[in-house]
């Protein structure tokens, strides 16, 4: 049985993460101005996913959690993505 290990993350780490997230947010806002048409949505989603990944890794402490929890998170996201793909197997071809 896994027992709780106390992980203390120091304040500067969180501050750096926040700066990183703010930089990515700036990119997110600037992307539509670049006028990349078809790729805008894709880039926006990639940026958002990156930000979400950072929040989960550092703020939500997935980085220091046990392996099983990481696997579960990946499984849930994989199931959700599969559901979207299957639904679009209807809408794209209709």
């Amino acid at each position: 049985m896994t027992t709780e290990v106390k992980h203390i993350t120091e304040y500067p780490v969180y501050a750096k993460v926040l700066i990183g997230l703010l930089v990515l947010t700036t990119f997110t806002i600037l992307v539509p101005w670049l006028d990349l048409t078809a790729f805008t949505a894709l880039i926006a989603l990639v940026l958002a996913s990156t930000k979400a990944g950072i929040v989960m890794t550092y703020f939500m402490h997935l980085k220091v959690e046990y392996i099983l929890l990481k696997i579960l998170v990946i499984m849930v996201l994989a199931i959700y993505v599969s559901v979207i793909i299957l639904t679009f197997s209807d809408y794209i071809f209709r």
Partner: protein, 201 residues
């Protein structure tokens, strides 16, 4: 309670919170699926309609939520270091951010509602289909998100009170951790809502 006290299990409590977060992800997931389908069908309308939203307010709220996420994460560090004063300050900043977010939303929604641009009005019925669906999704998604934000804030108020009372301390802080996890979920959802609603082109 006529039952024996269970052994305390912080890892179990956190696992429970994570599984609950999974359900929340799929709850919003259903909504994002509707968004994806409708945007696929009405791409041009969605682009036009999203120009009606104020990108500045959206961006401001994004920043506010990111800062609040950082402070709530830091408050755990403060509790672990037995720094009660710091933990209090950080949690208060988090709650202040929640209030700023709600005030922003009040003005944003208020503006739309004063234009009678919300589901069910005559103005809405007269718009193109893609516009109707965009604004319906806008109100539904941000409304549900706001509900979660309020619930998260209530949990953090409880955590703050317990920190003051010393019930959350460097030995017992799983409630604060779980409240923090929930708060990060609120942030996570906004990270996706912001580009999808405000920056569609």
């Amino acid at each position: 309670m006529d039952h024996i006290e269970m052994q305390r299990d912080d890892v179990g409590a956190k696992l429970g919170m994570w599984v609950f977060i999974f359900t929340e992800i799929l709850l919003f997931g259903g909504l994002f699926l509707v968004y994806a389908v409708m945007r696929h069908r009405y791409t041009a309308d969605f682009h036009q309609a999203s120009l009606q939203l104020n990108t500045f307010i959206g961006a401001l709220n994004t920043v506010v939520l990111l800062i609040s996420s950082m402070t709530v994460a830091m408050s755990i560090t403060a509790v672990q270091k037995k720094d009660k004063r710091m933990a209090t300050i950080l949690l208060c900043i988090t709650l202040l951010c929640a209030v700023i977010f709600l005030v922003d939303k009040y003005f944003e929604w208020g503006h739309k509602i004063s234009m009678t641009l919300y589901p069910g009005t005559d103005l809405m019925q007269s718009l193109k289909h893609g516009y109707i669906l965009f604004f319906s999704l806008y109100f539904f998604m941000t409304g549900l998100h706001m509900l979660h934000l309020v619930i998260g804030a209530v949990i953090l108020v409880i955590a703050l009170t317990k920190v003051r009372m010393g019930l959350i301390n460097d030995e017992h802080y799983v409630l604060l951790e779980n409240g923090g996890l929930y708060w990060h979920l609120v942030d996570l959802i906004w990270i996706f809502l912001f580009p999808l609603l405000y920056l569609v082109t």
